[in-house]
């Protein structure tokens, strides 16, 4: 193929420039939108989807929920998209940030690395299920009191990790708190207040 030289008109404006930089898009190429715009397609679409979706039940936060999901659906997706339990966050989608931490039978897991179908009859606890009878879990209250969230996106995962720590170790040291949250990524850098909140909740739970 010939190597064509680009000779754009001189003095590209910032608008033109950022288009190239990929910071915005411009110029609609309305690809015969009519071809795609048939809203009546939804039904036939469902039939064409790969391996069929299946009906399962899942015990989530003490309630039995019915789900119609594809076998490839992760627990994180099923919780967020099918059950609207969006407190469980998906960030890396490969088990390296713990933002999707939930408990399966009281053991923390990465919901992004767990198939929804593999949960079986075990009980799933999400951040939405941590408060009982309208009363916050002590770690949730401690996160509020110690300003342990900034943007808040890592907070549900952090709380599921630290609440689990306190359930098996009522007297953690700060090193043990760091160990329990070692997989939880927080870009705002709220860790010091997370540590404080966890130690304070431990004291209050006695």
């Amino acid at each position: 193929m010939e190597d064509k030289h680009i000779t754009p008109k001189s003095g590209i404006t910032r608008r033109g420039f950022i288009k190239g930089a990929g910071l915005t898009t411009v110029g609609s190429v309305a690809l015969q939108s009519g071809v795609f715009a048939g809203t009546e397609k939804t039904e036939e679409v469902k039939k064409d989807l790969g391996p069929d979706a299946v009906n399962i039940t899942m015990n989530v936060n003490g309630k039995i929920r019915k789900l119609n999901i594809e076998p490839r659906a992760t627990l994180a997706k099923a919780l967020r998209e099918d059950l609207q339990l969006t407190g469980t966050k998906i960030v890396c989608d490969r088990g390296s940030c713990s933002a999707c931490t939930v408990w399966i039978d009281n053991t923390p897991v990465n919901a992004c690395m767990t198939f929804a179908m593999d949960v079986g009859d075990k009980e799933v606890t999400t951040i939405e299920g941590l408060a009982k009878n309208g009363k916050l879990h002590p770690i949730q209250q401690a996160f509020i009191d110690h300003d342990a969230s900034q943007c808040g996106y890592c907070t549900p995962g952090m709380i599921m990790s630290t609440a689990h720590l306190l359930s098996r170790n009522p007297n953690p040291t700060i090193e043990e708190v760091k160990h329990a949250t070692r997989g939880n990524y927080c870009r705002c850098g709220t860790y010091p207040h997370v540590f404080e909140a966890t130690l304070s909740a431990a004291k209050k739970m006695k």
Binding site: V45, L85, A131, D147, C188
Partner: protein, 763 residues
């Protein structure tokens, strides 16, 4: 404009606070006393939205599902430099569940975009779910005409390098606080120089020096990597467009969207209630916002378009790298005689890779010159990143100051005492050094065992930025309820809470009594969260609006109590006359008697009051203590003391949260983070969170914060920001401490174990 003269506090914590007189608009309230005498402001009030965050109830853009919503995904470029000969979308079009396909353009006269980096978005597809959208992406065929590329900055600077842009390009301002230089020359891939504001005569300066040092410092590319990726949901309807955006600037998104689609701004509404981190990269519409707009317009359905983690890392912004050469002269007494700076940095296909104005402005030095160049490479665009330029610039400048101090046998703190005109940093140095116990600093490489301890310090500077485009409406209802409304967004800094504190203070109420509605362009316009400008901009507007509502209420009460409105005061829920304390009515009762169901006032930020600043910049001083394992090269940060000022702090706990975050990001920058591009393919090799190393819980040291109050008497709240200042000095303080520990200076970050071991081998 009518004015009045008021008294305001002026001074720094630990010093005697004076009272100064300021002439202020008559529409503004009297000055507040120092924080110790206030009830809501300056206190560690709990975040109003904390409960929503800890229960999972907070709904972020990425959590939203609208009825009929389609999911958009992007096809990204496989090659770093190419022309596109054709795009075949026919198979994708036939895939059931696909509703719209949009091809992105970047040159108006070309059918297809020019590819300038691997990962550049080319096509966007909207489908009924994410899986089908991704299948459709896989079915699209792109015919590339590949061209040579360059991803290495130093190669890009050579005459034989492949060229990224053939014509001059300009940078448009974002609200991230980066410096913009216009009309600079482009030669090959090198654009510049930006020469800042030179002064004096360099040669004479160097001639007057006893010691002249010249060194080169290098910093890496750092990605923003916010937990919530970039993205938006666009819901295009005939009567107007609603956009749910993960943004740090509602107004910026609205304006760019309206411009792009040629709509009046009134027809575009942008909403962000919760957003999962931005750090500078989430200003403006962005690739995915624009694509979602086209797709929603085309399909008549809401379209959600969020970047994947990989795309987030590659195409959605980064902090440019830098190669900085500094030549500085100093006398034996510790006076700087000349500073010469030359820097090259690459923001990939973007601009803004300078090293900021810190070398120019921070220290007293009569002769100064800088030449800062941007170098284009075939890599994703840079974006503002918490204190753009200053973070890179301070890494060089503050190591150089330590090197000069050593050369003239002076303590690093003593040198700064000599050259730094800032009263604020002087106070921060004193208080920080006491807290840190700087006096225990030993000569370099004193420890004899394999673990060597070191301590170091560095300073920083950031502007006191405020934006007059900051408007707030305060509304009092007949039941005594107060509502604050502004288009400003809370990106995790606590803006919502501080607005409530300001209004509660003015009305003598509790912070939680005030309802705050923000993050929506239905409300009055306000600036983006960038440059640490929001607190300085929006809090005076909020206080002024609250004051106006209070004055209107007093006018009503004056009629009821038959007193002069100017004698009325509101304290602890009671309105009373200062002339006759028997004339009183509760705030609740007074509200019930409003002649109409509400009183509102809308006020904007006014210019800074005339009069001196304690210092023009927001100064900080940070101290680092660390241990270097000389057998493994591993560095462990033991402690950071961070001494900061942000004017009048509004919410102390929230300020501390931000300082912690700035320090932790600084540690991450100093020791771990590094975007790595494969020179053979142009692809980023470490775009996953497990391969892009950053600070996690195990890396977090003790962080001790010294928060100064500095009262400058410049606005009705006298508050400034803390976001950028917190992030600037850490990496330089760590590098200086590493030198103190091992006696070899490492002038390049991240200071990974291999660099430590290599440096030790030179001993």
């Amino acid at each position: 404009m009518d004015t009045k003269k008021i008294k305001m506090p002026y001074g720094i914590t630990g010093e005697k606070i004076q009272e100064v007189e300021r002439e202020v608009p008559i529409t503004e309230p009297d000055g507040w006393p120092v924080n110790a005498q206030l009830k809501q402001v300056g206190k560690s009030i709990k975040r109003l939205d904390a409960e929503a965050k800890v229960t999972g109830a907070a709904r972020y853009t990425s959590d939203m599902q609208l009825p009929g919503m389609l999911i958009g995904r992007a096809l990204i470029a496989t090659y770093p430099s190419a022309n596109i000969k054709g795009i075949d979308t026919s198979a994708a079009e036939k895939l059931p569940g696909v509703y719209g396909i949009h091809i992105m353009k970047n040159e108006d006269d070309r059918e297809y975009p020019i590819i300038r980096y691997a990962g550049q978005p080319i096509v966007a597809v909207a489908a009924i779910n994410e899986d089908i959208a991704e299948e459709a992406i896989d079915l699209i065929k792109v015919a590339y005409e590949r061209k040579n590329f360059v991803v290495d900055i130093e190669k890009a600077m050579t005459p034989e390098s492949p060229i990224v842009y053939e014509a001059a390009v300009e940078q448009e301002e974002s609200e991230g606080g980066e410096e913009i230089a216009e009309g600079l020359k482009l030669e090959g891939n090198v654009r510049g120089p930006n020469q800042g504001q030179p002064r004096g005569e360099l040669e004479a300066g160097f001639a007057a020096a006893d010691v002249v040092l010249e060194q080169t410092y290098r910093t890496q590319v750092q990605t923003h990597n916010a937990l919530e990726s970039h993205g938006m949901i666009v819901d295009w309807r005939p009567d107007g467009v609603t956009i749910y955006a993960s943004t740090q600037g509602t107004q910026g998104v609205r304006d760019e969207f309206a411009d792009l689609f040629d709509l009046p701004r009134s027809k575009v509404r942008v909403i962000v209630e919760y957003m999962g981190g931005g750090f500078g990269a989430k200003h403006g519409l962005g690739t995915y916002g624009g694509a979602a707009g086209h797709l929603s317009k085309m399909t008549g359905r809401p379209v959600k378009m969020m970047a994947s983690r990989k795309e987030e890392q590659i195409s959605q912004g980064n902090r440019p790298n830098s190669i900085q050469r500094l030549k500085v002269g100093v006398t034996k007494k510790g006076d700087l005689t000349a500073i010469e700076q030359e820097s090259y940095g690459t923001a990939g296909v973007g601009l803004g890779a300078g090293v900021g104005g810190v070398a120019q402005g921070m220290y007293t030095c009569p002769n100064f010159r800088t030449r800062q160049y941007d170098v284009f490479t075939h890599a994703g665009p840079g974006a503002a990143w918490r204190a753009p330029g200053a973070v890179q610039g301070i890494f060089g400048l503050e190591q150089m100051m330590d090197e000069l101090a050593e050369a003239i046998d002076m303590d690093p703190m003593a040198l700064r005492e000599k050259i730094d005109p800032s009263r604020i940093r002087k106070a921060a140095r004193k208080m920080g050094a006491e807290r840190f116990d700087w006096s225990r600093r030993k000569p370099k490489a004193s420890d004899t065992g394999p673990i060597k301890k070191g301590i170091g310090m560095a300073q920083s500077s950031w502007w006191r930025i405020h934006n007059l485009n900051a408007t707030v409406e305060v509304k009092l209802l007949r039941d005594g309820a107060l509502e604050v409304r502004s288009g400003v967004q809370d990106i995790g800094t606590g803006t919502k809470t501080i607005l409530a504190q300001i209004v509660a203070e003015e009305f003598g109420l509790q912070t939680e009594d005030v309802m705050v509605r923000i993050g929506d362009t239905l409300f009055p316009d306000a600036p983006g969260s960038g440059g640490s400008q929001v607190t300085a901009s929006i809090t005076p507007a909020a206080r002024n609006a609250a004051y106006q509502v209070k004055m209107k209420l007093f006018d009503q009460v004056a009629k009821i109590l038959e007193v002069d409105a100017s004698t009325l005061k509101l304290e602890n829920g009671m309105i009373f006359s200062t002339k006759d304390s028997s004339k009183k009515i509760s705030f609740q009762e007074a509200s019930k008697k409003l002649p109409v169901s509400q009183i509102t006032a809308t006020e904007s930020r006014t210019p800074e009051y005339k009069g001196d600043y304690l210092h023009w910049d927001l100064g900080s001083v940070q101290f680092a203590e660390l241990s270097v394992d000389t057998e493994t090269g591993h560095i462990h940060i033991d402690k950071i003391v961070a001494a900061h000022s942000c004017g009048r702090p509004i919410n102390v706990r929230q300020v501390e949260s931000q300082i912690n975050g700035g320090v932790i990001q600084g540690i991450s920058y100093a020791l771990y983070e590094d975007r790595i591009l494969d020179r053979n393919t142009g692809h980023m090799v470490n775009h996953t969170l497990d391969t892009y190393k950053a600070t996690y819980a195990a890396d977090i040291p003790e962080i001790d914060i010294v928060l100064l109050e500095d009262y400058n008497a410049k606005s009705s709240t006298d508050a400034y920001g803390i976001g950028e200042p917190a992030n600037i000095a850490t990496a330089a303080a760590i590098a200086n401490a590493v030198y103190n520990a091992i006696g070899v200076r490492i002038r390049e970050i991240p200071i990974t174990p291999d660099k430590v071991l290599k440096a030790l081998n030179q001993v």
